[in-house]
């Protein structure tokens, strides 16, 4: 039952995507329906006693693996896509937009259940194309350039990945994830490099800020909420299947969490702050592989809510927002999202942070706590913004339904880890947020630093890949026992 269901559920978004293009009138309803199916599937997956291991055709066919980890990621995907469709409900988006959105949804789903390198490759490339079309949707030169840059970087990374896949096949005559064990060092290096770039991790993730900041806000919500997770999910999956990879992810995770926070701290553009914070949060997701599912769910929901809200503010520039009060109705969700991502109790992010820290190694615990304080500092920028009740806002009904869905789920999802609610942990979380706010008022507001953006140049992004190859060679070759 669930086996046939899995295949139907995988095929449905693509089928609906093309149907929608033929019947534009039904676009919103049908695509929303698909996300509900994904939601139901994720719930069914949670109820499964054992992981679902599928081999389609014979030994060279597609292999799928669906377990609780997949269920968390699929749930994130379903909720974020549903919220984006609700947000776009009363805008003039054409059927083309919904087609791409739902194809993106389907291919991200495919990533979350696949268990061999080639299915993963195909799914990631489809994600690249669909995301390209969504970013380029406004058809302006600027968005076109940002989209081109994204596709270029991601395709180059995927070429490296393919070389790695070929080498794995040469060693094991199989494309299964577990083939990484025993594969030559260069195969592991190239595959990990491809996934790190796709997932926006560490230096190779610096394509992400511009891309996520310049896209339209519903598209940014999709990209930050789920698409980056498609890059990190396979890494987490591999680390859980093979302990040898675990230390690599832990180091990169912590480094990314800190790098993103440092960049976000000095930024004054609201959408860039959010995009850079995504880099940092991706680091949290991979830093502690056993807790990745919960953290990805928490981050996806809250980041989508924040991007959708910020898209409706009168300006993107935080210095302008300081002078021009926003409507209180917009400030409230912005505040809720900001304290949620900083780990405030009541929201799932609190439980997710506690869960992550619980499974963190001792050295990681210290660094991650620093990153958590940094996150609170970053989001203090939004908390201190002025607001007025009578200020006009251009927000449409879609924003409120989307926010209700996202923030409501964020509250409801607390059931997954209620053990986090102990006195010391709640106090610590509140102290982190309060400390961040205070430190922001006293110190950060008075000074202004800027970091050079030169590393985000197109050529440096590609060149950064070769640097990462060298770093990975050193790490994998001399340090990991693969």
């Amino acid at each position: 039952m669930i086996i046939n269901g899995t295949i139907l559920w995988l095929a449905l978004p693509f089928f609906v995507g093309f149907t929608v293009y033929l019947l534009p009138g039904t676009a919103r309803l049908l695509t929303l329906g698909v996300t509900l199916v994904s939601l139901a599937y994720a719930m069914a997956l949670f109820g499964q006693p054992a992981p679902l291991d599928l081999h389609l055709l014979d030994s060279f066919g597609v292999t799928l693996l669906a377990d609780d980890l997949s269920a968390y990621f699929i749930l994130t995907n379903a909720l974020v896509t549903a919220a984006v469709i609700l947000y776009c409900w009363d805008t003039s988006k054409t059927a083309f937009f919904y087609t791409q959105a739902i194809i993106l949804h389907g291919s991200v789903n495919a990533v979350f259940v696949c268990a061999d390198l080639i299915s993963l490759y195909v799914a990631l490339e489809v994600i690249g194309i669909a995301a390209f079309l969504l970013i380029a949707y406004p058809r302006q030169d600027r968005s076109l350039w940002v989209a081109l840059r994204y596709l270029f970087v991601s395709n180059t990374a995927m070429l490296f990945y393919l070389v790695g896949a070929a080498l794995v096949y040469q060693t094991h005559q199989s494309f299964a994830f577990t083939g990484l064990r025993g594969a030559p060092t260069e195969a592991v290096v190239l595959i990990v490099l491809g996934l790190l770039v796709k997932g926006g991790v560490f230096v190779s993730g610096l394509w992400l800020p511009l891309t996520h900041a310049e896209a339209e806000s519903p598209v940014s919500a999709l990209l930050s909420g789920v698409v980056v997770k498609a890059g990190v999910f396979p890494l987490v999956r591999c680390a859980l299947l093979m302990e040898e990879l675990d230390p690599l992810l832990r180091v990169f995770g912590v480094a990314t969490a800190l790098l993103g926070v440092v960049y976000a701290l000095v930024e004054t553009d609201a959408k860039r702050v959010l995009a850079l914070s995504t880099v940092s949060q991706v680091g949290w997701v991979i830093a502690v592989p056993p807790a990745a599912g919960v953290y990805a769910l928490a981050h996806g929901l809250v980041k989508a809510a924040l991007f959708l809200t910020v898209g409706n503010l009168p300006s993107r520039d935080l210095t302008v927002l300081q002078q021009r009060p926003m409507a209180t109705s917009l400030w409230l969700p912005l505040m809720a999202g900001s304290v949620a991502i900083a780990g405030c109790p009541l929201f799932l992010s609190f439980g997710a942070k506690a869960f992550t820290l619980e499974y963190a190694l001792p050295w990681q615990g210290i660094m991650l706590n620093v990153a958590a304080v940094g996150t609170a500092l970053v989001y203090a920028k939004f908390l201190v913004l002025p607001h007025r009740r009578d200020a006009t806002s251009t927000a449409k009904l879609g924003l409120w339904t989307a926010l209700a869905l996202l923030l409501g789920s964020l509250l409801l999802a607390n059931v997954v880890y209620l053990e986090a609610y102990t006195g010391p942990k709640v106090l610590k979380a509140l102290a982190v947020i309060g400390g961040g706010l205070l430190f922001h008022r006293l110190v950060v507001q008075r000074f202004r630093f800027t970091l050079p953006q030169v590393l985000e140049d197109f050529e440096h992004l590609i060149g950064g890949m070769s640097v990462m190859v060298v770093v990975l060679f050193l790490m994998v070759g001399s340090w990991l026992a693969i």
Binding site: I129, F132, L148, F152, N155, T156, Q173, E459, I462
Partner: protein, 110 residues
């Protein structure tokens, strides 16, 4: 020897992406790189034999492994569709940036 050539193709393509200024040249360099990757798959498949794997009275051994070849077909299709998509994007960009110099475009749209 063949392996060295294949890896040289991949590397040359990669350097082309970095060092070529023009956007169209970068895309062509990426095509060179993906040609190298495709050749690598063919090479991996052919390593074990040269015959076409068809069921029949032919001897069973010495055939080329069909799996990587089947896989790389998918990758070729994906590769050219992405390239086509990028070239369309470049055509649209070229209307306002006729030189297509990456650096100039980047300055303008930062």
């Amino acid at each position: 020897m063949l392996h060295a050539c294949v890896y040289a193709t991949i590397l040359l393509g990669f350097f082309g992406i970095i060092f070529k200024e023009n956007l169209v040249m970068k895309i062509i360099a990426m095509d060179v790189m993906s040609t190298g990757v495709i050749a690598l798959f063919v090479l991996v498949a052919a390593r074990t034999g040269v015959r076409t794997p068809i069921v029949g009275i032919l001897p069973r051994d010495g055939y080329a492994d069909p799996v990587p070849q089947a896989v790389i077909l998918t990758a070729i299709v994906i590769g050219f569709s992405i390239q086509a998509l990028m070239l369309v994007g470049v055509m649209k960009l070229a209307r306002d940036n006729p030189t297509l110099e990456t650096r100039a475009i980047e300055e303008e749209y930062r």
